[in-house]
Amino acid sequence: MLSLQEIEKIYFTEENAVEAVTDISLSVEDGEFVSFIGPSGCGKTTVLSIIAGLIPPTSGRILMNGTEISGFSKETGYMLQEDYLFPWLTIRKNIELGLIITGMHNEDTVEKTMSLLAQLGLGDKADAFPSELSGGMRQRAALVRMLAPEPSLLLLDEPFSALDYQTKLKLEDLVSHTLNSQQKTAILVTHDLSEAIAMSDRIFLFSTNPGSIYNVYQVPETFRRMLPLEARNHPEFHPFFQRIWKELENVENQHPNTP
């Protein structure tokens, strides 16, 4: 279980000090899938980076299964907006990089990872270079790279936003299915409300200036366990979407300065 306690982050520049996020306290259960949504500048990516250990919080604590973590933890995996596979390495080498850096590179883990690659339909692409793959395939390879060192908490930073609509829907299903079957905990940052609803168990709505949690929504039991594509077609999906949409608009209208 992950819990954040009163996380605060202040950025300092020559002109001023900006409070990016303040008083973020939340907890995520094992195996739960939660999303952060909110207007741009609400600090949702900042919180994700803090959990990943990429930037230190100004104050506050992060606990993972009861113990405080600071900086990088082997338990977390991070997926970026774009794949950022290294163009000078083959898919196989790219994926093995995560294992090498975490010091987990051995025959066993490589074999496991390669079989995951095959499961995601890229078995025949292992020796191809990233430039030879489509955007969806590359993001799938990036997913395998993240999963290779077997993290238990996955941090997804708008991983579908650079894909075309059809690829995005397919990849949502694939990610959802893969994470469910491996019992991973995940936090998704997205600006796409319907994606958040279709994929998550719980949704945190952030407000801006400074970034803080505005509201938390439990996704209705009726379609929570469905794959994203099925969930989107569920009759209760749209009423729920409308409800959060209104609140999202409220949040944005509170601060007319932010677009």
Partner: protein, 270 residues
């Protein structure tokens, strides 16, 4: 039916390209031949001073003579090894300093103005100091060649290190990479193309450094042959050395190009 017509068109296309290539090559050879021929004729007719400009046939004679007594080989190998060592030291040293600067932001900020001054300064002006420091001999020549390329290599490669997409580093940082791993797996490989292209520039700079160095101190080498030939009014020897230098420099440049296309083919294999 359609397929065969595409096939013939493709053959035509290939045939055209071949003819084009052959025309370019033959024109190039023709130009070279014309150059030497007119040089020979003009010099024999004394339209240009044969004492100063010599003529290809006499240079060829000298080439045979100096090849047979082994002196050309000696001078050429001295110059060539000086150039290669200076070039390697300049490129590797510059890349290494760039690594140090990348490693320590503090150091890079401290050294920034010094690098700017060193880069703007005509390094050849340091010649006398180098000779005093390294002694009148081969080490001075190598130091000159190295000095000429090391500063610009440092600046260009360091700039490339800084320009590496933050997200590649972020990928590694999410796996808990150390600074050494960031450099080894993301920054350095991302900068190979830049390093190779500075190598191309450095080949030229190393030649400049070596020849100037030999002008100043050497008792051996092609630069020495040039300056000696000039002093005793042996312009045949000057011309011969120039031709040898042109051939060798072009050859080195082409080797770097071959290395480049080999590395690129390996990393972007289709």
């Amino acid at each position: 039916m359609l397929k065969t017509s595409i096939q013939t068109r493709h053959n035509d296309f290939l045939q055209n390209r071949k003819t084009e290539k052959r025309r370019i090559l033959s024109t190039q050879l023709l130009l070279l031949g014309l150059f030497f021929l007119s040089w020979e004729i003009l010099s024999r007719m004394e339209w240009i001073d044969p004492l100063i400009f010599s003529m290809p046939s006499r240079i060829a004679e000298l080439f045979m003579e100096k090849s047979l007594d082994g002196s050309l080989l000696l001078h050429t190998s001295v110059t060539l090894s000086e150039t290669i060592i200076g070039f390697l030291l300049g490129t590797a040293g510059g890349t290494f300093i760039a690594l140090v600067l990348w490693w320590s932001t503090f150091l890079s900020r401290v050294l920034d103005p010094y690098l700017v001054v060193l880069n703007a300064m005509p390094k050849v002006a340091l010649g006398p100091i180098i000779i005093v420091a390294f002694g009148p001999g081969i080490p001075s020549v190598i130091a000159m060649a190295c000095l000429l390329s090391i500063v610009i290599t440092t600046l260009v490669v360091y700039h490339a290190f800084q320009q590496v997409d933050e997200n590649y580093k972020k990928v590694l940082l999410t796996f808990g990479a150390t600074k050494k791993q960031l450099f080894q797996y993301a920054v350095l490989p991302a900068c190979y193309p830049t390093i190779i292209s500075t190598m191309k520039v450095n080949v030229g700079l190393a030649w400049v450094g070596v020849i100037v160095g030999e002008f100043l101190v050497a008792k051996q080498g092609l630069g020495y042959l040039i300056i000696y030939g000039f002093q005793v009014f042996q312009f045949r020897q000057v011309m011969l050395s120039l031709i040898v230098i042109a051939v060798l420099a072009a050859f080195m440049y082409k080797s770097i190009e071959a290395l480049e296309s080999f590395l690129i083919r390996r990393s972007r294999k289709k």
